[in-house]
């Protein structure tokens, strides 16, 4: 995997959050303030643009730098809770890769683990708080476990995406303890967390990007 993988991942995220924009807005309207779809769309559109320009300027941009650029772009265009969280996540992930031109499955795990650590550090949320962590942490764990078991990156990512989707659904019956939804107390129960939902899209986008690239 390389810079092209990252670029195509970001394009996939952009396409899927745009397609799910209204759904994310609806989910956020139910237990938040109804802007999550707009936030993610605005951010990843800017990321795709920024990465395009960076690759035009330097076609040899290493994948780590692209991730850092993506993170910076999110921080400077999204706002809200998701901007700093995803922004720091991608920056931390990118730093893991340094200047190297390509990376393997084991390194991808470290990238995602660093992203998760950064989200948890900044947002102080744990699994079960009804946030994006509920989708991201199981995805990272599943990816690591499958690769350890000797699965291909593609298979492992399929597992990670499915785990993220399961994590996303796991947010429905629980009460929020972080973010805006926590203001609702018990009224947050029964609703799927928008951030966990977009996180599942982000991991699914990564899986697709890798599959397409390997074709």
């Amino acid at each position: 995997m390389n810079a092209a993988t990252i670029a195509s991942w970001m394009r996939e995220i952009n396409a899927s959050v745009r397609a799910e924009r209204d759904h994310l807005v609806q989910l956020d309207a139910a237990i938040g303030d109804g802007d999550h779809g707009t936030n993610m769309t605005r951010g990843f559109e800017a990321v795709v643009l920024a990465l395009g320009q960076a690759l035009d300027a330097d076609p040899e941009s290493p994948p780590g730098k692209l991730l850092i650029l993506a993170g910076r772009t999110l921080v400077s265009t999204v706002g809200g809770a998701s901007g700093p969280l995803w922004g720091s996540a991608l920056r931390s992930g990118g730093r893991v890769l340094g200047d190297q031109g390509s990376f393997d499955g084991a390194q991808l795990v470290e990238v995602l683990a660093a992203a998760l650590a950064s989200v948890k550090d900044l947002g102080t949320a744990a699994v079960g708080d009804k946030t994006m962590v509920d989708a991201l942490e199981p995805a990272v764990e599943k990816l690591r476990a499958r690769l350890t078991d000797g699965a291909t990156v593609e298979d492992a990512l399929e597992g990670a995406a499915a785990a993220a989707e399961a994590g996303m659904r796991s947010t429905i019956p629980i009460q929020a303890r972080k973010g805006r939804a926590s203001y609702l107390g018990e009224r947050s129960v029964g609703h799927q967390d928008p951030g966990a939902t977009s996180t599942a899209l982000v991991i699914r986008a990564l899986q697709k990007a890798v599959v397409y690239q390997n074709r």
Partner: protein, 340 residues
């Protein structure tokens, strides 16, 4: 005069530009007080930076007007960072504002307690520190509708924000230093409690849809300022009954001594007319007195809003002599003006 996109009850061109276009108008109307930097997306006091004066900035999602841009000027904020509607601004804006207003005496960030605002301001404060600017941050969290526990993001910042900006702004104008101004913001926050109710949702321009559905005759109790649903919904009682609930929630949490002098701030959420706000103030005044508090200052109007939401909130600030003095000090902003 038809345009496909305008199916709302709003004066809009492109919904994506509503914030920017509104800021252009704010600057056109109040060029004597402030300027709008459209590149950095900040509102800056006309005469900033003021050498030697502690500067105050705040910011947050738009849709709460006049907060914050309407409070930029003499005796209040030095800059405001408006985000998209109901979306926290980004650290770049806050950093740019911090740099634009720093007069060497330091900059106070007044941050409403929402995860987004807190995280973005945190990043900006770190960046500003890297650039050698003294920055302090105070998080405002006065909303008693939200339990302040390990199981929430903490209480929201609502009406006390306006009071803190006014009172600390006066302190800064009078020459107080960074530690002092920071302390005043904290003090106002510590001594303030708020509670809001909504009679309708609002419609963010980007989606064009109401955030929640509230039938007539129902009230959302414990709403914030982002059109989010409240803690619970109830049949709408009389104004007297609603004020009972609100005052009880605020007073029981404030725990002020009997005989305390307070500032009572009856705030409209945007769609509730002044006719009703004054009716509410009449009830609030009566009930606070009955609860042993003496409203010696008040503010009635729509100052921290949720677009066109129908609803109101009460903020009670337990005054002391110093806070009263700074409240009374001159202020000249688009939305609050006296003594000058």
């Amino acid at each position: 005069m038809a345009v496909e996109t305008n199916q709302m009850r709003k004066f809009l061109n492109d919904p994506a530009h509503v914030v920017k276009e509104s800021l252009v108008g704010l600057a056109a109307a109040h060029g004597d007080l402030l300027r709008y930097d459209a590149v950095k997306q900040i509102i800056v006091r006309k005469d900033a930076p003021k050498k030697g004066k502690v500067a105050l900035i705040s910011g947050g999602g738009s849709g709460h007007e006049p907060l914050h841009g309407g409070f930029v000027g003499l005796g209040m904020l030095d800059a405001a960072c408006p985000g998209e509607v109901f979306t926290s601004p980004v650290p770049e804006q806050m950093l740019a504002a911090t740099k634009a207003v720093d007069g060497g005496a330091g900059v106070v960030h007044i941050v409403k307690n929402y995860t987004g605002d807190v995280l973005n301001f945190k990043m900006a404060a770190e960046d500003a520190a890297d650039e050698g600017i003294k920055v302090t941050s105070v998080v405002i969290d006065d909303d008693v509708a939200v339990q302040d526990s390990l199981y929430t993001a903490g209480r929201r910042g609502v009406g006390a924000t306006v009071l803190a900006e006014k009172i600390a702004g006066a302190a800064a104008e009078s020459g107080a230093d960074l530690a002092k101004v920071t302390d005043i913001v904290k003090r106002v926050n510590d001594r303030s409690r708020s509670f809001g109710v909504a009679l309708s949702s609002c419609v963010p321009p980007a989606s064009g849809k109401a955030i929640f559905d509230l039938p007539e005759g129902q009230v959302e109790l414990g709403i914030g300022i982002h059109g989010e649903p409240g803690r619970r919904r109830a049949p709408l009682g009389s104004a007297t009954e609603v004020v009972d609930v609100i005052v009880e929630a605020v007073v029981s949490d404030l725990k002020a001594k009997r005989g305390s002098k307070v500032l009572a701030f009856v705030n409209g959420m945007g769609g509730t007319p002044l006719l009703e706000l004054y009716l509410l103030y009449g009830e609030v005044d009566k009930k606070l007195r009955a609860a042993g508090l003496e409203p010696v200052r008040n503010l009635v109007g729509s100052y921290i809003t949720s677009l066109e939401m129908a609803g109101a909130s009460l903020t009670v600030l337990e005054l002391d002599e110093e806070l009263t003095k700074y409240w009374d000090a001159p202020v000249h902003t688009a939305a609050l003006r006296w003594g000058v």
